[in-house]
């Protein structure tokens, strides 16, 4: 809520503190934060840029503040969505009631590359498919939250949620005694507990958890090693693993040791060269057989991509209603499926006002932001659209709300999104109060992806 001086009530205490600060001191702090990130090694690799092997994501020192009541609503909405998506995945790989009921066109699943036939008639341990979900949310007005994407495969960015907070605590300890912010630091502990709760029924004793990484050249390697370290579990690569007596086991200095829960940060296609991409050196040959025999939990389950595909996304409100009997709490952005002739026609004639995305794309690659595109880009994209309409969806550009960032000239408004992280286990859904706030650092820009020059902020959820 804005008051007369134009300051949202959630930012009031922060603003009081901020107005007492000296800009030069803050600029110094900004540099200090960068040095801290470098020292901790929080870097990411950009694909296809040889000279910039490791880069820092720019960090903005003004936190994004969410009130307790806003958060409560968000968390409820995410909880509902995540449960529905799990129910949907179980259904789609088993009885397919939702297709029989005609809520979803059969074609949408049958022709979906992310749908894995290997998962048919199989229930993963605890019936959990999406152990970790990162829901991308934007805000357009006081009480208007929209979900942009559900990220049900292997959402990344949680290390920034944790490290951004650590950095803020180190740089501005006084702020945290002034403003009561909910804690995020339990995430690694909760993640481990949640993963352990999903261990196969056959596992007795404390389950052994490990993180599977594609290796140090992966763009999110820092996060993989960070999470393993924070959870106190092993970080492994495909070549460390093999099948021993019907179980997946990792190489240790004392021989092979069975893994019960594998939190994999390797895509489906590379997971098992015997089942999927035969050229993959990142996966474990035979892991899918162990999985189907019920001897290991893979988090997230293979084939969850079918739920965060952008065409399926447009049906999520229907999916929620079908499985929970409730209306969706969080809104979906209106989506034109270009596979439908009317929608394609509409998209083509309104291209300069729409955002067009590839159905299976991610990371902000291959998308068109109509209002920011040149005439030539628009006409080139129109050709692509006409050639493969099934490949695209279009959405109106939302008039996103802004939050302040710190610039050389003081505070300035920028567009942001928010990715809270939800953990799913048979014990329930656990959502950490906070998340990754990504910010478009260029004035007016709507693209927040780190691969496209976006930055991050700490996200504060206030106590009551």
């Amino acid at each position: 809520m804005m008051s007369d001086d134009g300051i949202r009530s959630t930012y009031r205490s922060y603003h009081e503190w901020f107005s007492e600060q000296d800009n030069r001191r803050l600029a110094k702090k900004s540099a200090q934060a960068e040095a801290l990130f470098k020292r901790t090694g929080i870097t990411f690799n950009v694909y296809g840029q040889a000279d910039a092997e490791e880069r820092l994501i720019p960090f903005d020192l003004v936190p994004r503040i969410v009130s307790n009541s806003e958060w409560t609503k968000l968390a409820k909405g995410i909880d509902q969505r995540v449960r529905a998506i799990n129910a949907f995945l179980h259904d789609i790989y088993n009885r397919q009631e939702i297709l029989r009921a005609g809520v979803l066109p059969k074609k949408l699943i049958a022709e979906n590359d992310a749908f894995l036939p290997q998962m048919i008639d199989f229930s993963p341990p605890g019936d959990v498919y999406t152990h970790i979900v990162g829901t991308d949310i934007v805000r357009t007005g006081e009480d208007d939250f929209y979900v942009l994407e559900d990220n049900a495969r292997t959402p990344s960015g949680v290390s920034y949620m944790l490290e951004n907070r650590e950095t803020m605590l180190q740089m501005f300890p006084e702020l945290f005694s002034k403003i009561r912010v909910q804690n995020v630091s339990n995430y690694p502990k909760n993640l481990r507990r949640s993963l352990e709760a999903c261990a196969p029924a056959s596992c007795d004793g404390r389950p052994t958890v490990a993180i599977l990484t594609p290796g140090i050249y992966n763009s999110a390697y820092y996060e993989h090693s960070f999470l393993a370290d924070q959870m106190g579990v092993e970080l492994v690569e495909g070549h460390d693993l093999r099948i021993v007596d019907g179980h997946v086991a990792m190489r240790t200095t004392q021989g092979y040791r069975t893994i019960d829960v594998l939190y994999r940060r390797v895509d489906d296609a590379y997971l098992d060269p015997l089942t999927f991409n035969p050229n993959s050196a990142l996966g474990v040959p035979g892991i899918m057989d162990v999985y189907r025999a019920g001897n290991i939990t893979i988090a997230n389950a293979p084939g969850t991509g079918v739920a965060d595909d952008k065409a399926v996304y447009s049906y999520i409100p229907d999916i929620i209603e079908f499985y929970t009997g409730e209306k969706a709490i969080l809104k979906n952005v209106e989506t034109y499926r270009c596979s439908e002739p009317d929608a394609l026609k509409y998209t083509l004639s309104n291209l300069s006002e729409l955002v067009v995305k590839e159905v299976h794309g991610s990371g902000g690659y291959g998308m068109l932001v109509g209002p920011a595109a040149s005439k030539r880009e628009l006409s080139e994209f129109a050709e692509k659209l006409k050639a493969h309409p099934d490949n695209y969806i279009a959405q109106p550009t939302l008039s996103l709300s802004t939050v302040p960032i710190f610039t050389k000239k003081g505070l300035a408004p920028r567009h942001v999104d928010l990715r809270p992280f939800a953990l799913v286990s048979p014990d329930g859904v656990d959502i950490t109060p906070g998340g990754l706030t990504r910010v478009a650092l260029k004035a007016g820009s709507l693209v927040v992806n780190s691969s496209q020059g976006g930055g991050t902020k700490d996200t504060w959820v206030l106590e009551d």
Binding site: K38, T40, I216, S225, L235, T252, T253
Partner: protein, 302 residues
């Protein structure tokens, strides 16, 4: 990874000792640099690039030449890559100290180091190495991981000290003390300085500068943390911890015991009788084999 950092530190020490000679006795400089390069087993690579053992070349080659896999820059890069790879085995303090070392050294070694700046640069290298060691000792759980780190560090140290002795073994022979007889024998001083023991020697050894006394100090004195016997003891005791923790004895344990036996209850005179050079050569061989055997016994390579 710790072997890499240990190597960087050893190289820095040798550079420091060499630099001192080059400054104070310019006539001996070339042969001194040559022996530094030989000690670091870098002769072939160096001579492929340069014709003379000129200070500028040697310093640059050892500090920052990317063609030299043992240059401090190469080794620090390798150590940091390695640390990233085994990130979860390290505490965040150890990781950050390694990362910071890498950041600092890649920065100061970006351009050729001028001779006037060399002492500062070498001091930074040693300081960073101390920082990593401090983080290791102060924060790591005393599990097998820590023990393997210690084993690696001490294998690297034996290798280093043994090489230093080997390159100058002739100056240590009893004969030299009669022929040369100079108390300020340059060779001896560099030798001690290269293992940071020139001051310790004066405190620990009473019978003064003679070749055999120095050889005895570097090989058989278990008070000196870079002597061959001290390092072998460390390897044996750390491996014993692993043996106990795993409840299993492997081939490498016997090899380590044998290595230590070479130094236990030995008189330096019997080593001279055996031939110092032959003795050191076989120690170098045994140490390398021990390293391979540990990798094999504990599956460090696939």
């Amino acid at each position: 990874m710790f072997r890499f950092l240990e190597r960087a530190e050893n190289t820095a020490r040798l550079l420091e000792a060499g630099f001192r000679i080059a400054l104070t006795r310019s006539t001996d400089a070339e042969s001194e640099w040559r022996s530094v390069i030989i000690t670091l087993a870098a002769q072939q690579g160096f001579e492929a690039k340069y014709d003379t053992y000129d200070s500028t070349h040697v310093i640059n080659y050892l500090l920052r030449d990317a063609d030299n896999p043992s240059s401090i820059l190469s080794v620090v890069n390798a150590a940091r890559d390695n640390a990233r790879l085994v990130r979860t085995a390290l505490t965040s303090e150890v990781w950050m100290s390694v990362n910071e070392t890498w950041m600092q050294l890649t920065q100061i070694l970006k351009h050729q180091v001028r001779e006037v700046d060399l002492p500062d640069v070498l001091a930074t290298i040693r300081q960073q190495a101390a920082l990593v060691r401090g983080a290791l000792n102060g924060t790591m759980l005393r599990t097998d991981v820590y023990r393997f780190c210690q084993v690696g560090i001490h294998i690297e140290r034996i290798d280093n000290t043994a090489r230093i002795i080997d390159v100058k073994y002739y100056s240590l022979l009893p004969a030299t003390s009669i022929v040369g007889g100079r108390l300020d024998n340059v060779q001896w001083e560099t030798l001690l300085r290269s293992v940071s023991a020139h001051r310790s020697f004066r405190w620990a050894v009473e019978d003064g500068y003679t070749g055999p006394a120095i050889a005895n100090f570097l090989i058989l004195d278990s008070r000196l943390p870079r002597s061959l016997i001290f390092c072998s003891k460390e390897i044996v005791s750390n491996l014993a911890f692993i043996e106990q923790a795993y409840g299993e004895r492997a081939t490498c344990h016997d090899m380590a015991d044998k290595l230590l036996q070479r130094f236990s209850n030995r008189e330096i005179s019997t080593i001279f009788e055996e031939g110092l050079h032959e003795f050191i050569s076989s120690v170098l061989g045994d140490t390398a084999n021990l390293g391979y055997q540990i990798e094999k016994d504990y599956r460090f390579n696939i």
